[in-house]
């Protein structure tokens, strides 16, 4: 299979942007523009890759694009693999990232003026795309490290006092996760002698392979659950996602958690197909706990961004349950859910940030935001639509996710878990109306009435909300992509053969 140079784009264009931004450390304005340009370029290449795959998949061909780094034949070197799944996820991420960089253009946070901020942001973008594209499990580990360190840097230097504490906690917990992953990889390598995921999947499927590699599944699952902040690996998440600067918290809560989701999907569909039943049960149980834990905590927490962070905790639960059911429709539902949630959540977090940026203390605490959005009709409308989308109200994209997921549940005949997740969906409505009413309907108090004249621009979240609306009204392309993806996931030989060229 030929190398497809486009696959490099989503990873190395932001990477290049980060380096250029580092060179122009003195000119913050220029840094921001470089970041945006690089992210748009990455987005374009990501779209091109997905389009090529889509085209191939529709005509029934093998829809996998690969790039062998250093031109070493797998499994001896590192290979980037853009199959339907990774191409779809990278498009989702790069789209949201363009939104994030667009937000930084007009963001008034002080930390964005620090020279290291935009390079770190660029590195994070590269790392996210890389984690999806890499076909090598050790390179996945390295990309995850890059993702962790760049996000830790950006949160640690954030304007809020608590940010450093949150960053340290995340760094330490994440180091724990890295250790698990490393042990898992070590075990896999020791018993199979390979690091290429296609190779691992093939070796574990065929033949009487050593059991050690299977035990490593525990370690890998734990790592990915930690990355997605699934119960009980979630403790770092609310602090970390809340104290981050707005554009970053929007990325963390929408796409960075999806890296773990992606990892789990790879585990159950490629690496550990034989174990997918056991892993699935764990996912369903932890996911449902997460739905209720996250939802109820979001209902009672005190900060507008924190509500959304806890909400992510719950929403990831929905996705995990879908993966856990592991029928074609359920997996399709999980994919659609993951993509839609990324757009909704990033937009909502940015909108909260915009409202908070007008606040005289620049705080997102609910008591400081009472009635803060009363005069901001456009922001209010966008937030309202986003809230409804999150709660799964038609005809917005969140409804499509829920519909797809519920159909998956019906197909899986998992009645108890289906009932629980539908019931859990009501909690979303509760906390979103609570926050919406408080910020956008209530009369400002004496404390919250004085507002700054200038705040962050709401262009980026408005665009993301527009995507949410469009993905609701015109849901067919995304659902078709998800269906094709699931078809490909159901036939791992496509992936394996394209990579190994057998």
């Amino acid at each position: 299979m030929e190398n497809n140079v486009l696959v490099l784009g989503p990873i190395f264009l932001p990477f290049l942007g980060a380096i250029i931004a580092l060179i122009f450390a003195q000119n913050n304005r220029l840094q921001r523009i470089i970041g945006l340009v690089a992210s748009i370029a990455a987005w374009l290449t990501a779209c091109a890759v997905l389009y090529q795959n889509w085209d191939l998949a529709r005509s029934g061909q093998t829809a996998v694009q690969i790039y062998r780094l250093g031109n070493w034949t797998p499994p001896y070197g590192i290979v980037l693999v853009a199959d339907m799944l990774s191409a779809l996820f990278v498009v989702m991420c790069t789209t949201v990232l363009v939104g994030g960089f667009l937000y930084t253009l007009q963001c008034k946070d002080r930390c964005i003026t620090y020279p290291v901020f935009l390079p770190a942001f660029g590195m994070m973008s590269a790392a996210i795309s890389g984690a999806f594209y890499t076909g090598d499990i050790f390179t996945l580990f390295v990309f995850l490290e890059l993702m962790v360190i760049s996000s830790v840097v950006m949160v640690a230097i954030a304007d809020k006092d608590l940010a450093l504490e949150a960053a340290i906690k995340y760094l330490l917990i994440s180091a724990m996760g890295s250790l698990f992953l490393l042990i898992g990889i070590g075990a896999v390598y020791a018993s199979l002698g390979t690091l290429t995921m296609a190779d691992i999947g093939q070796l574990l499927e065929t033949g009487d392979r050593p059991l050690l590699a299977r035990a490593a599944a525990v370690m890998l699952t734990a790592t990915f659950l930690l990355k997605s902040a699934v119960f009980p690996f979630h403790f770092w998440q609310p602090d970390f996602h809340t104290t981050a600067p707005t554009p970053i918290s929007a990325m963390l809560s929408s796409i960075v958690v999806k890296v773990g989701v992606y990892g789990v999907i790879r585990l159950v569909t490629l690496l550990y197909r034989a174990e997918s039943g056991n892993i699935g049960n764990i996912l369903i149980i932890l996911g449902i706990i997460g739905i209720f834990f996250g939802g109820l905590a979001a209902l009672r927490t005190y900060d507008a961004k924190r509500v959304l962070a806890y909400s992510t905790f719950g929403q990831v639960g929905f996705i995990m349950v879908g993966i856990g059911w592991n029928t074609p429709l359920a997996m399709m539902g999980a994919l659609v859910y993951a993509v839609n949630h990324a757009f909704i959540k990033s937009a909502l977090l940015m909108l909260s940030g915009v409202v908070a940026s007008f606040n005289q203390y620049k705080s997102a605490k609910l008591k400081d935001l009472v009635g803060a959005g009363k005069q901001k009709i456009g922001i209010g409308l966008a937030y309202f639509l986003g809230g409804l989308a999150l709660a799964g109200v038609p005809p917005l994209n969140g409804f499509i996710s829920k519909l797809a997921l519920v159909r998956g549940g019906v197909q899986a005949q998992a009645w108890i878990s289906l009932g629980l997740i539908v019931g859990g969906g009501l909690i979303t409505l509760l906390y979103m109306t609570r926050v919406y009413v408080l910020i956008f309907q209530q009369k400002p108090t004496e404390d919250t009435a004085p507002q700054k004249e200038y705040g962050d621009s709401y262009l980026a979240p408005a665009l993301l909300i527009a995507i949410c609306v469009l993905l609701g009204l015109f849901s067919a392309p995304l659902v078709e992509l998800a269906r094709l993806t699931v078809e490909q996931l159901g036939d791992p030989t496509q992936y394996i053969h394209s990579v190994l060229g057998v």
Partner: protein, 1014 residues
């Protein structure tokens, strides 16, 4: 096609309302006429469909929306849809016209119209939906618009906000139940019909209406869920409480949504699904029970309400209950009564709400106790009220009379019912009569001398709408046969006869007529004597609102408890995470690992030196836990690292050992420097915040120890199993290869571990003799490229972080003179502020741009005249050593880079070596002298140059060689000193620069004397 257009019109108009230009162009009157005119046009347009529908023709249009999900948009018109659509457009037209005179502010009016139009569109879509998904979508749409309209005055009214959310939660929750119910129904239909489970046709109304699902085993389940949806939407007991709460909406919205249309959505759904789900005991008992209960409770509450709209709301609840109950009657006997009831109620109740709006608009109150005598002030409203009041009470010749007549007839025990329903219905009807009398009398007639100091006569146009509806009540009553027969007939799907005056007027033979007469006498009679009983002390019926509040309280309480788990202590977080992983390991790993025989002696390369080293590593690790002084703990951790390095050396793996030693040295130096910089007190504080240092109970220690042991043992087993595994694999492999040689079988190359391939092919492929170096810089060059990014980002992060807290300038990319300059500026600002000058932003800016005189050269100690910065270690001997060490370190580094492909050492080790030399400088010379003497050393720039070279090298490989990061071989024959000029040297050099820059950056940040020196 027409029908789709009809449905789209309201949405288009709603969209128009979003733009300010619409209201600026049209003004109040324009808006009013546009919206109500459009609704009237739609009404007459729909009338055209009557003949078609009366012939039992069904009009339907389908558009595929999302084939993969089985979503399609289908419009479906039969008699039932048409009847509801006519109500939506007809009442809509009147309400829109009325609202134009009701709302004072044009901006608010446009917003209100926007919401109402969006609602009208959703409601039309709901009743015209031919696909249960479309029905559900429209259903949710009406709930959302209802939320917005109830909370329309939310900024002023706390109650409006809570009622709006409550209504949304109740109807939204019911919507979820409905969603699952419909989904299961669709599955059942498909099972029964034997079609593909998720075919697009599965959720079409046509399919569902023809399916026989009553015998399906899920019947009770999905019926219950669907009923739940309908009951919440139509405000049935015990969910009825949201409707009285919804009265905070502006009156036109109440008239439209909360009496005429939206609350009938539940009724519509049950009506619609009656052929599929109805006529079973399960269905009938639920509907009769809930419907009759709601009817009675609603009527009872209505007469006690002194709030005008509250009274109307409860009476609406009562009427909805009656309709639901009629749908629960056996053999379709209630359908006719239900249809007429829906029409009659829409006509009279909407009018009442509009009148209530007029009254509130004029007098500023809706409290019955503060009203009275309005006959003089609002004569038109009075006559309208009398007319609709009579219809509500059920006096001939109004439509309400026919409705009550048919209702009583349907409930008669002659159809095999017990006596209870007829008793309930009769008494509720009596109470309804009373409610109508109360409204008309207390508002318009009693207390004729009531004064209204703030009376504000409304525009005359406001009376037109209600009067029109009232006249319609009269006309449809008198000319019932020609006007309604075809509509009602086609709605319930059979030919019927409608008449105003029953043929048999003997009350003893025609029981319904007799009961009707009884009601008409008992009602006024009770009204006359009401002062003797109506104000008696009353009991409070337990209602759903208490349940709802309790529910909310409970989940909020749970939420609070859950939040307490987020206690901020890293120790517990890690304990939970590792605890869960150890449990998973025990469950998941144990069954897989057992059976694996672990033989430590299998690895023959065990000797006493190795055992000693291992013991040293374990001992010093343990010591690092028990040592209370941080410095000693750090040192013993360093020793453990060195011991592991020693193990590598013994293996022998000199490359890895070298890296391990250097990294350990670097890490230990960094930790010690940081410990020196941070005071003990600060460290303790941080420990308390993050770690919970205060709570060293026995249990805590034991728990942590247990988790550590389990994790440690698991990892240990992993490692041992790995060793064992590898041995077994190599043996198998050798065996297989032997077989290959013996029998000539060709084995796919893939089975061999990639390490063997690397060992065999490295020199051939890369001309490097050092396999580790080749893997790092070549085979897995991408990993290295990423790792140096991680490293430099971490270094830059540390640098920024240490520079940030006091708002100091950030050092990246600045030379020492700039740094000094900005420090001098900060000093100046601080000096001025401490002397009491308040500086504003522009003054600050001024100082920031000012240039301060700096000493030309560092003085003999290197510091710019500042004794704090002189290190205690700065003696002539150490200064000399440090000066000598640096060039040597740089030379060693260059050697590492150049010979990376053939000998131990590579770009990374080179960078660490150079960085350590710089560290020595910072320790010996202090910050300022080092910065001054090594002016050329700018860590930020080193990092960026390194990264540029690394990436450039990778890209050049793509352009001139075989791909991204591919090595380029420069064709140099007989290279000097055994060097191979391949692009890995360039890459190694880039790694060197980056790592060197990173280490220097961290050192610089740590060595910076901090605020106290300034």
């Amino acid at each position: 096609m027409d029908i789709v257009l009809i449905n789209i019109v309201p949405f288009v108009l709603a969209l128009l309302m979003v733009f300010p230009i619409t209201r600026q162009l049209l003004g109040r009157n324009g808006l009013t006429w546009l919206t109500s005119g459009a609704m009237a046009v739609l009404f007459f347009w729909l009338l055209i469909f009557i003949p078609q529908v009366a012939d039992k023709n069904v009009i339907s249009h389908t558009y595929t929306w999302n084939a993969d999900l089985g979503l399609s948009l289908t419009w479906y018109v039969d008699g039932l849809s048409l009847m509801f659509a006519l109500i939506v457009t007809g009442v809509g037209s009147v309400v829109f016209f009325y609202a134009g005179y009701y709302m004072d502010d044009v901006t608010q009016l446009a917003k209100f119209y926007g919401f109402l139009l969006a609602f009208a569109g959703s409601m039309l879509a709901l009743v015209l939906a031919g696909n249960v998904f479309m029905l559900f979508i429209a259903w949710e749409g009406t709930s959302v618009m209802s939320f917005l309209l109830i909370g329309f005055k939310g900024d002023k009214d706390e109650e409006a906000r809570t009622s709006a959310s409550r209504a949304l939660i109740i109807t939204g929750g019911g919507g979820l139940a409905l969603f699952v119910g419909l989904m299961l129904l669709g599955v059942a239909v498909n099972v029964v019909n034997g079609v593909d489970l998720f075919a697009e046709s599965g959720f079409q109304l046509e399919t569902i209406l023809q399916a026989d699902v009553k015998s399906h085993s899920w019947y009770q389940g999905f019926t219950f869920l669907i009923l739940l949806g309908a009951f919440t939407k139509s405000a049935q007991f015990p969910f009825h409480f949201w409707l009285p709460g919804a009265m905070t909406a502006p009156s036109p919205a109440s008239a439209y949504l909360h009496s005429a249309t939206m609350v009938k959505a539940g009724v519509y759904l049950l009506f619609r699904l009656y052929p599929t789900l109805g006529k079973t005991n399960y269905w009938e008992s639920w509907l009769l029970f809930i419907g009759l209960t709601t009817m009675f409770i609603g009527a009872l509450f209505a007469i006690r309400k002194r709030d005008l709209k509250g009274l109307l709301a409860y009476s609406t609840v009562s009427k909805l209950g009656a309709i639901i109950a009629m749908l629960g009657l056996p053999d379709s006997i209630g359908l006719k009564a239900a249809a007429i009831g829906i029409l009659a109620h829409a006509l009279y109740k909407a009018t009442f709400f509009l009148l209530a709006g007029t009254i509130e608009h004029a007098t500023g109150t809706r409290n019955l106790d503060q009203l009275g005598g309005l006959r003089r002030h609002l004569p038109v409203s009075f006559y309208t009220a009398v007319l609709v009041g009579l219809s509500m009470a059920g006096f001939p010749p109004l439509l309400g009379f026919v409705a009550k007549e048919t209702l009583l007839e349907a409930m008669l025990p002659e159809h095999g019912l017990t006596l209870l329903p007829i008793i309930v219905v009769t008494s509720a009807s009596v109470l309804t009569v009373l409610a109508a009398f109360l409204f008309v009398w207390d508002v318009f007639v009693s207390r004729a001398d009531q004064q209204y100091p703030h009376f504000h006569a409304p525009h005359n146009g406001i009376h037109i709408g209600p009067a029109l509806l009232a006249v319609m009540s009269l006309l449809t009553g008198i000319f019932i046969a020609p006007l309604l027969e075809s509509i009602v007939g086609s709605a319930i799907g059979k030919d019927i006869k409608l008449y105003l005056i029953p043929s048999n007027l003997n009350p003893l033979e025609n029981h319904a007529f007799g009961l009707s007469l009884l009601v008409l006498f008992a009602g006024p009679a009770l009204f006359v004597v009401r002062r003797y009983w109506l104000n008696m002390p009353w009991f409070n019926l337990p209602t759903g609102i208490n349940l709802y509040k309790a529910f909310i309280d409970i989940i909020e309480w749970i939420g609070d408890q859950l939040l307490r788990s987020q206690n901020g202590k890293l120790r517990y977080y890690l304990a939970v995470i590792m605890g869960v992983v150890s449990v998973l390991m025990l469950i998941g790993g144990a069954q897989n690992i057992h059976g694996l025989s672990i033989d430590i002696t299998a690895n023959k390369a065990i000797d006493s030196v190795k055992i000693m080293t291992i013991l040293l590593a374990i001992g010093s690790t343990a010591a690092s836990i028990f040592l209370r002084r941080h410095l000693l703990a750090a040192l013993s951790l360093g020793i453990a690292g060195y011991a592991i390095g020693g193990l590598f050396l013994l293996e022998p793996a000199p490359d890895v050992a070298l890296v391990q030693f250097l990294v350990e040295t670097l890490a230990t130096v960094l930790i010690i420097l940081m410990i020196a910089r941070i005071s003990m007190r600060q460290r303790r504080e941080v420990m308390n915040v993050l770690w919970d240092g205060s709570d060293d109970t026995h249990f805590g220690v034991l728990r942590d120890a247990a988790i550590a042991v389990i994790i440690g043992m698991s990892v240990g087993i992993f490692a041992l199993a790995a060793v064992d595994d590898r041995q077994a694999r190599i043996e198998t492999l050798e065996q297989v290869e032997q077989d290959v040689i013996d029998e000539g079988v060709i084995l796919p190359e893939i089975v061999r571990p990639i390490a063997m391939w690397h060992l065999e092919n490295t020199y051939k492929e890369t001309e490097a003799t050092d396999v580790v170096a080749a893997i790092l810089a070549d085979f897995r060059g991408t990993d290295t490229l990423l790792e140096i990014s991680v490293f430099s980002l971490a270094a830059l992060g540390v640098m920024t972080l240490l520079a940030v807290p006091k708002g100091r300038e950030i050092l990246i990319g600045k030379n020492v003179r700039d740094v000094m300059q900005s420090m001098a500026q900060s000093q100046e600002i601080e000096r001025q502020q401490s002397s009491g000058n308040k500086l504003d932003t522009s003054q600050m800016q001024q100082i920031r741009t000012k240039t301060f005189p700096l000493p030309e050269k560092p003085d003999q100690y290197g510091a710019y005249g500042d004794e704090h910065s002189i290190s205690r270690l700065s003696t002539p001997l150490t200064r000399m050593t440090a000066t000598v060490v640096l060039p040597f370190a740089l030379l060693i580094s260059i050697a590492h880079v150049l010979y990376g492909g053939t000998a131990p050492g590579d770009g990374f080790t080179a960078g660490v070596v150079s960085g350590l030399a710089i560290a020595v400088w910072y320790v010996i010379f202090g910050y300022y002298e080092t910065k001054g003497r090594l002016w050329w050393l700018r860590p930020g720039r080193l990092i960026s140059i390194g990264l540029v070279i690394a990436l450039g090298n990778a890209v050049l490989g793509m352009i001139f060689s075989e791909g991204f990061l591919n090595i380029m071989k420069l064709d140099v024959h007989n290279p000097p000193a055994g060097l191979h000029f391949v692009s890995t040297i360039v890459f190694d050099f880039a790694i060197y620069l980056t790592v060197f820059g990173g280490v220097t950056a961290i050192m610089e940040a740590i060595a910076h004397p901090g605020e106290e020196a300034l």
